[in-house]
Amino acid sequence: MSAAPSLPKKLNRAGLEIIPYRGSKTTLCAGCGHNSITERLIEAFWELGVEPWRVAKLSGIGCSSKTPAYFLSQSHGFNAVHGRAPTVATGTLLANHQLMCVVVSGDGDTASIGIGHFMHMLRRNVPLIYVIENNGVYGLTKGQFSATADLGSKLKTGTVNQLHPVDCCLAGIEMGATYIARSFSGDKRQLSAILKGAIAHNGLSIIDVISPCVTFNDHEGSTKSYAWMKDHDEPLHEVDFVPSFEDISVEIEEGESRVVRLHDGSRLLLHKLERDYDPSNKIHALEVLHEAERRNEVLTGVIYVDRNRPNFTEMLDLVDQPLATLPEARVRPTRAVLDQINEEFR
C-alpha cells in the first residue's frame, strides 16, 4: 500500500499554519458571542501573517477576559485583574514598544471597575488593540447588569435598567483613541475587516463588539441579544481590508467608496450604503452615534480614524531597542557621573 500524498498545508506569509494562531479549547458556553470574536482574532492574525511571538495578549477578569487563552498559543498572555488590563498593557509597551498588544475586555471590566484606566488609556492613545466583548451583563458573575446595558433593557429576572449606558465608542472619540469601531460578533466579514484594520493601525484601536451572552442576556427584552442585533444592527458601510502586501489595485467607483490608508500601507475600503460617511470627521462621528442611539439602532462599522495623533510610546521618545533588553552599559551611568553627583552635594 502506498502512502497517500499528504495535502499541502496552508501557510501564511510568516510560513505558519493556522495552528499556532489558535489557543487552548474554549471553556465558554456554546454559542457565546465571545467565541466568535476569538475566531475572528485567530483569522485576522493568521491572514495578516503576524508572527505570534511579536504579540502580547492581555485581559482583565470575566468570561471575555478568559479568551486570550483561546487564541495565539505562541504569544505571551496575561490574564490580569478585573478592569485594569489597560495599565498592565501600558506597562508592557513601556518595557517593549515593539510588541503588538491586544487587550480583550468585558463591558463590566471596561465600563465599570476599569473605567478610570480606560479613560486614561484613551487620553494616552496607547498603541494597542482594545476589544470590548460587550454583552450588557457580567457573564462570569452570573448575569448582573453592566454599565453598557441600554435604558429599558430587561434582565432575565425581569429587572429593567433605568440608568444611562456608557458608550465606549463615544468615550473613545472624545478622549483621544485614534481608531474606533463598533461591530457585532455575528458579523464575520465586518468584524474581520475591522480587526485587520486595527492590526495595521498605529495607535489605540477601540473595538466595541456586541457579543451576546447566551446564558444571561439573550432573551426577549434584552438589547444585546442575537435577535435584537438582527433587527437593529445598522452598518455605516461595508468594510473591506486590503493588506499592504497584497499588491492589488482597487477599482473605486467615484462617490461609492472611501479609502482609508493605514500606517503600514494597508487600506480600508468603506463602501457606501445609505449615505457617504467620512470616518475622519470627529464631530460627525459623535453625531451619528448620538443619532443612532436616539433611533434605537446599533451603528456598526469604522466610526472614526485619526492617523496623525502621536501614540504614547512615540511621545515618550524612547530609544529604538526595547527598554527591557537594554544592556547594563546603557542603563547604569558611569563612575564619573556618580563622582559628579557626589560633588554636587558636598
Partner: protein
C-alpha cells in the same frame, strides 16, 4: 496661653533639675519657627550647611504642615560634636519669626535657652529666665530689599546673619552655603540675600550683647561628606540600579523621590547619540494604575518601579498579590507617613511594616528592605531591583518621611561593584538548546523558576500568566495538588531569599544583658539611647538593626545573647515586634519587650531611654 493649630515638638517636662554650663560648644539645637511658604527653607538650609561646612556634625528636621502657605512650620538644626544626628527633644536656641506660635515657642523653652525674635512681638515680657535677642526685621529688610514683593522672602535671611554672629558661625561659610544654595544661575538673587545676611550680622554686632552659652566652633568631622535628602539618595540608587520604567502618582512624602529621579533620568539617561530616552516615566491616573503599569513593565522585562506612601500602598493591594503569585519583579518604594487615611501626611511613622510584608489577600509574603540613611537608600534601591529580578517578586523598600524629606549627612555614594542582576531569563537561544521550558518549575531547587519575556522570537517562548491557579507549565489548574505545590514553592523561594537579603548589623556591648532591636531611622535614637543608658545609668546595652524582612536567623542569636531585648517601633501597634513574634520560638519571644513612639515626629533618644529605664525598673 494662646492656642496654636500645631503643637511645637518639644516640652518643658523636666525643667526643674536643669542646669546649663557656661559654654555649650557644638552640642545644641536651633529651632526656627516660621510660616510655610515664606521662603524660610532656603535660610534654614543655608544655616545648616554653614555649620556643616565648619566641620560640625549636623542634622536638619523640617516639621511642616499639610498646606501650601500660611501655616506654622518649624525647622530644627541639631549640632552634635559626637555625631548624634537623631532628633533632640529639647530646643536650646529658638528663632521666633511666626507671631502665631511665638508665645508658645518661647514658653516651651527650658531655662537658660536663647530666643531671637521679631522685636514687635515683645517676647521678652513673657519670661525672665531666657536670653532674649530682639531684632527689628521689618526695619532691617527695607534698605536691603527695595522690591517690596521680595521682602517676605529676603526677610528670613536676616536671621541667618543674626544667628551666625551670635553663635560664632564663620560668615564666609554662610556666604559659601548661600551661593551654593542659589546656584550659578541665580547669582543676582544670591547677592540680594547676602545683603540681608550682612544686615542681620551688622545689626547683631552693634545692638546685641551675647549672654547665652551656645557656640559653634570649627571641627573636622564632616570632610568629604554630603548633605542630601533620603528621597534624592533613593532616586540616585534607582538611577544606578538601571531603572527603566518609573510609574507613580503624586503623594507626600514620596513625590520628591519621583521628581528627583525624573530630573536625573533626563540628565543622565538620554542616549548620547540619538538623544532618546533609555527610560520611561508615567505619571499614572492613580496608584492602581501605577502598580499595574509597573507590573506590566516588569512582566515584559523592564527594571520597573513605583514609589508611593501608605494610601497608595492600600490601593495597590490586589495587584501586588497578583505579582507575588504570577511571579513578576517590581520594586515599590514606600516613603511612610502617619495614617490611616490622610492621617498626618507630613509626619513620619514606620506604619507600613506589617501591611507591606503581607500585602494582599490569600497567602502572600513580600521582602521588605529597611534603609536607615541616604547611603542605604542608595545601595538598597539597587539591591531591591536585583532581588526583585532574581526572585521574580515584588520587593518593598520601606523608607519614612523623616529619612525621605529631611536633610542628612552622608558618606559619598559608592559606585556599584556588582553587575546588574537580571535573574533567570531564557533567550531564544536558550530555548533552542533546552527544547522548551516550564514557567513555574523549580529546576534549581531554590524555588526560583525560569521565565521568558514577551517578544522572544521562539515558538516555545510563550506562556500564559494568570493570577488564577496554575501548574508548573503555567496551565490553568484548580487541582488541589497543583495549588499546594505552587504556594509551597513560593514559600521555598522566600526561604532562599532570607539569606540573600541584606543582613542585620549588630553591635554587642561587653557584658550587656539588654539589647535593642530596630529598623530604619530608629537607629539614630537607638544608638544615642545606648550611650545614654551606659553614660547616665551605667547599663551596657547592645543593639541590632534589621535591614530586611524575611528576618535573618542571626536575630534569634542576638536575642539569645541577652536577657531582655527591647524592640523599638515607630507605631502604636508594635508592628516590628509582632512580625518578630511570628518567626521566633516562645523562649525568645519571652525575652522581647516593646518601646513604641507614634506621635509623628522623628524618634528621639530620650523617649527610648526613658521607656527602657522605666521598664527596667531603674
Amino acid at each position: 496661653m494662646q492656642a496654636s493649630r500645631m503643637t511645637p515638638p518639644l516640652s518643658a517636662a523636666h525643667s526643674t533639675q536643669f542646669v546649663r554650663p557656661d559654654r555649650v560648644v557644638n552640642d545644641f539645637s536651633i529651632q526656627v519657627a516660621t510660616v510655610n511658604g515664606s521662603g524660610s527653607q532656603t535660610a534654614n538650609n543655608v544655616l545648616m550647611r554653614s555649620i556643616f561646612q565648619m566641620g560640625v556634625p549636623v542634622s536638619g528636621k523640617n516639621l511642616f504642615p499639610s498646606n501650601i502657605a500660611g501655616l506654622p512650620t518649624w525647622f530644627t538644626i541639631r549640632a552634635s560634636s559626637q555625631g548624634y544626628i537623631g532628633r533632640k527633644k529639647e530646643v536650646d536656641f529658638v528663632v521666633a519669626m511666626n507671631p502665631e506660635t511665638a508665645r508658645e515657642d518661647v514658653m516651651n523653652l527650658l531655662p537658660g535657652a536663647a530666643a531671637v525674635y521679631d522685636a514687635p512681638l515683645k517676647l521678652n515680657e513673657l519670661r525672665d529666665d531666657l536670653h532674649f535677642y530682639p531684632v527689628p526685621f521689618d526695619a532691617l529688610v527695607g534698605p536691603v530689599c527695595p522690591d517690596a514683593k521680595l521682602r517676605k522672602l529676603v526677610r528670613n535671611m536676616i536671621y541667618d546673619g543674626v544667628v551666625a554672629h551670635l553663635l560664632g558661625i564663620d560668615l564666609e561659610q554662610v556666604r559659601k552655603a548661600l551661593f551654593k544654595q542659589f546656584g550659578e544661575r541665580k547669582r543676582k538673587a544670591a547677592e540680594l540675600n547676602w545683603g540681608a545676611v550682612t544686615a542681620g550680622k551688622d545689626y547683631a554686632e552693634q545692638h546685641l550683647a551675647k549672654t547665652d552659652p551656645f557656640r559653634i566652633e570649627p571641627m573636622d568631622s564632616t570632610a568629604g561628606k554630603l548633605i542630601i535628602e533620603g528621597n534624592t539618595a533613593a532616586a540616585l540608587g534607582c538611577l544606578f540600579a538601571g531603572v527603566t520604567v518609573l510609574t507613580w502618582y503624586p503623594i507626600t512624602p514620596s513625590s520628591s523621590l519621583a521628581e528627583a529621579l525624573i530630573t536625573y533620568l533626563a540628565r543622565f539617561r538620554r542616549d548620547p547619540e540619538t538623544g532618546k530616552a533609555t527610560y520611561a516615566v508615567v505619571q499614572a491616573e492613580d496608584e492602581l494604575a501605577s502598580i499595574g503599569m509597573a507590573i506590566g513593565a516588569g512582566w515584559a522585562g523592564a527594571r520597573s518601579m513605583t514609589c508611593t506612601s501608605g494610601p497608595g500602598i492600600s490601593l495597590m493591594s490586589e495587584f501586588v498579590g497578583l505579582a507575588y503569585y504570577a511571579e513578576i519583579p517590581v520594586v515599590l518604594i514606600d516613603v511612610q507617613r502617619v495614617g490611616p487615611s490622610t492621617g498626618l501626611p507630613t509626619r513620619t511613622m514606620q506604619g507600613d511594616s506589617f501591611s507591606n510584608a503581607f500585602l494582599s489577600h490569600g497567602d502572600t509574603m513580600h521582602p521588605v528592605l529597611f534603609p536607615s540613611s541616604p547611603e542605604e537608600c542608595f545601595t538598597m534601591a539597587q539591591e531591591a531591583f536585583d532581588l526583585a529580578e532574581f526572585f521574580q517578586t515584588p520587593v518593598f523598600v520601606n523608607m519614612d518621611l523623616d529619612l525621605g524629606m529631611n536633610n542628612w549627612m552622608s558618606e559619598p555614594f559608592p559606585y556599584p561593584e556588582k553587575p546588574i542582576e537580571r535573574g533567570k531569563v531564557l533567550t531564544a537561544e536558550d530555548l533552542e538548546r533546552l527544547g522548551g521550558f516550564a514557567r513555574y518549575k523549580d529546576v534549581d531547587g531554590d524555588g526560583v523558576p525560569y521565565r521568558t519575556l514577551p517578544g522572544t522570537p521562539h515558538p516555545k517562548a510563550a506562556y500564559f500568566t494568570r493570577g488564577t491557579g496554575h501548574n508548573d507549565n503555567a496551565t490553568y489548574s484548580e487541582r488541589e495538588d497543583d495549588w499546594i505545590k505552587g504556594v509551597d514553592r513560593l514559600a521555598r523561594k522566600f526561604e532562599t531569599l532570607r539569606s540573600r537579603a541584606p543582613q542585620p548589623e549588630a553591635v554587642d556591648a561587653p557584658n550587656a544583658s539588654i539589647g535593642l532591636i530596630c529598623t530604619g531611622t530608629s537607629r539614630y535614637a537607638v544608638e544615642e539611647s545606648c550611650d545614654q543608658l551606659s553614660r547616665e545609668y551605667g547599663i551596657p546595652a547592645s543593639r541590632l538593626r534589621i535591614k530586611a524582612f524575611p528576618f535573618s536567623p542571626s536575630i534569634g542569636e542576638f536575642i539569645d545573647r541577652h536577657d531582655r531585648v527591647y524592640v523599638v517601633d515607630q507605631n502604636r501597634d508594635a508592628q516590628l515586634l509582632m512580625m518578630l513574634r511570628l518567626e521566633l520560638s516562645p523562649e525568645r519571644i519571652a525575652r522581647l519587650r516593646s518601646v513604641r513612639y507614634y506621635g509623628g515626629l522623628p524618634l528621639d533618644a530620650r523617649t527610648v531611654t526613658d521607656s527602657i529605664v522605666s521598664q527596667e525598673g531603674l
